[in-house]
């Protein structure tokens, strides 16, 4: 095994109430890499992230962080959950939420200090959130909340940043901004970024590697290695075509032998239905 790998997922299988959610999923991520975890809704992305975080146990396989089995509370991982609506009444400014990223697991009341404030400001600046540092988080837009949550995750200096569907519910422009920001963070701070999405096109310009997941199985590599008709057809267990249309990648169920995929076309990542 390459010692430089920050995350190694080795043969992870998960069964939930008799149904196989993940089947022998393996891939590895190195520092500074921007990796997209691509799959349709229900493909097993969130379960896989929960296994990596230690919130879900696996029936087989193991997860290594920096070459070691993961411990209960792992400061190596920063996590941004799937978008949730924050109550506007929540008495929490953007800077308070980022501050909780430093020491939320500790007992007692945080003591304000100049160093603490400077660190929080620095993180807010890194995600271009300084201008709304003193606004209630519940009043921020989806893209702004996303950036504050990224700063919250980054302030603990993780080596791996996991984001669950950060682009869902963001408009195109806010989505591009978040992707560009994460790509910059990955290369500048040498943090491995793993980001799940059901649509790969927004990530294509930034993605170093892709983990493509379908029906609980995964294929990983560079986009050139993975996003190909033969690789994805094997993953889906039936023929799919990969089309390149005006710089956008579309994965569509192939004609003729798609009995298995009947009715699933809309769920294929990258597909846009044009009738």
């Amino acid at each position: 095994m390459d010692a430089k790998e920050i995350l190694s997922v080795e043969g992870i299988s998960v069964r939930l109430s008799g149904r196989e959610i993940l089947h022998e999923v393996s891939f590895a991520i190195r520092p500074g890499e921007f990796t997209g975890l691509i799959g349709s809704n229900g493909a097993g992305k969130t379960t896989l992230l929960r296994v990596i975080l230690g919130l879900q146990s696996a029936n087989a396989g193991r997860v290594l962080l920096d070459g070691r089995p993961r411990s209960h509370r792992n400061p190596l991982i920063g996590y941004v959950p799937q978008k949730f609506l924050l109550d506007p009444d929540m008495p929490l400014r953007a800077r308070d939420l980022v501050g909780l990223g430093i020491d939320a697991h500790r007992f007692g009341i945080p003591r304000p200090s100049r160093a603490r404030r400077a660190l929080i400001d620095q993180m807010l600046e890194a995600v271009d959130a300084l201008s709304f540092a003193d606004t209630r988080v519940g009043l921020l837009s989806g893209g702004e909340q996303q950036r504050v949550l990224i700063a919250h995750a980054l302030i603990a200096r993780p080596k791996l940043l996991l984001l669950d569907e950060p682009l869902a519910n963001l408009d195109l422009r806010a989505g591009h901004e978040v992707v560009a920001l994460l790509a910059r963070i990955a290369s500048e701070q040498q943090i491995a970024v793993l980001i799940s999405a059901h649509e790969m096109n927004a990530l294509l310009p930034a993605m170093d590697r892709i983990v493509y997941i379908a029906g609980g199985r995964a294929a990983s590599g560079t986009t050139a290695e993975v996003v190909r008709a033969d690789v994805l057809s094997e993953l889906y267990g039936s023929h799919v075509d990969v089309l390149n249309v005006h710089g956008r990648v579309l994965v569509v169920a192939g004609a003729g032998d798609d009995a298995d995929l009947h009715g699933h076309e809309a769920a294929l990542p990258g597909v846009e239905i044009v009738s």
Binding site: L53, G54, L55, H72, R73, N74, I77, Y79, P81, F84, L86, D87, D89, M90, P91, L92, R93, D96, L97, L100, D103, A104, H105, R106, F107, G108, I109, P110, D134, T135, R136, V137, H152
Partner: protein, 297 residues
């Protein structure tokens, strides 16, 4: 405004003898402790959306308090015992999960209050304590013995210690239980510890303004504070201050009301405290309303 001016303004309010009576000293001390605890715990009750749990604890305190009276011990012991039992039961049936909790809690609450109806009846008939029902349901802040103060302080410090110790994990898990769990915080255990602090806070509120109105003191000042500040620490201090203001002013008005019609009986303190909290909550919405109106125009 100078202190003298404030004194002159309040002078007509303050009946002679208010600050001289020992009952008043005790009521002021207990009222302050209870208001601080309710405000502090209440801020988390509101942001964790657990007002329902607070209400349920208050209702079941009725059962515990009336049982304690029947047994001849102070109602506070009954409140604390009932609160701890109720908190454990809620933990077991998972009141923190929305699904299924309403039905289970409703049935348990109904049974508890039914039992309280019997116990209060027995209190009144067997012990000939006609004031029992009013004492339990609506509080009795002017009839405390000074020996109660150390116990009230001890319970208050216990509740505040729990909240202070768990301040950061509580705040993060109120934002997102998932984010807290991902950081290795034991979210379930944290919820149980918080429920314990809530049970203590509700027991303390119950002895001052009664089991039925305890939620008002828990949630009212906290909700008002949350409208006025965007900082969690400030919200807690503000909720405590609002609670103290309502409590003390309520006690003052209740003392004055001995001279109001119908003469010689005095109005219940709880009425004044809860009304003041309600007025404060309405007033706290005024700035937002004005802002919206000016923007709309």
């Amino acid at each position: 405004m100078s202190a003298g001016a404030i004194g002159a303004l309040l002078a007509p309010l303050i009946e002679p003898g208010f600050f001289a009576a020992e009952d008043v000293h005790i009521a002021i001390a207990v009222g302050a402790i209870v208001a601080i605890v309710s405000g502090t715990v209440g801020v988390f009750t509101v942001i964790r959306s657990q007002s329902f749990a607070g209400e349920a604890l208050g209702d079941l305190n009725t059962t515990g308090g009336s049982a304690a009276l029947l047994a001849g011990v102070g109602p506070l012991w009954g409140f604390v015992a009932a609160g701890l039992v109720a908190a454990s039961v809620m933990e077991l049936i998972g009141i923190q999960r929305p699904r299924g909790r309403d039905l289970a809690t409703g049935i348990v609450l109904g049974a508890g209050l039914g039992l309280a109806a019997l116990l209060l009846y027995l209190d009144t008939t067997l012990h000939n304590t006609t004031g029992a029902t009013a004492t339990i349901l609506f509080g009795s802040v002017f009839t405390f013995s000074s020996t109660l103060i150390p116990l009230v302080a001890l319970l208050g410090v216990a509740a505040l210690t729990i909240v202070a110790a768990l301040y950061r994990p509580l705040l993060l898990s109120s934002v997102s239980a998932e984010m807290a769990a991902a950081r290795g915080i034991q979210v379930r255990l944290l919820g149980s510890a918080y429920l314990l602090a809530l049970a203590l806070a509700v027991a303390l509120a119950s002895i001052t303004i009664g089991t039925i109105l305890s939620t008002a003191l828990l949630v009212g000042p906290a909700a008002t504070a949350l409208r006025l500040t965007k900082r969690p620490g400030v919200a807690i201090l503000l909720a405590g201050a609002i609670g103290i203001a309502a409590m003390w002013l309520g006690e003052l008005l209740a003392y004055d009301s001995f001279y109001w019609p119908p003469a010689g009986t005095g109005w219940p303190v709880s009425f004044f405290v809860v009304t003041l909290i309600f007025i404060g909550y309405l007033l706290s919405g005024a700035p937002e309303l004005a802002r919206r109106r000016s923007r709309g125009a």
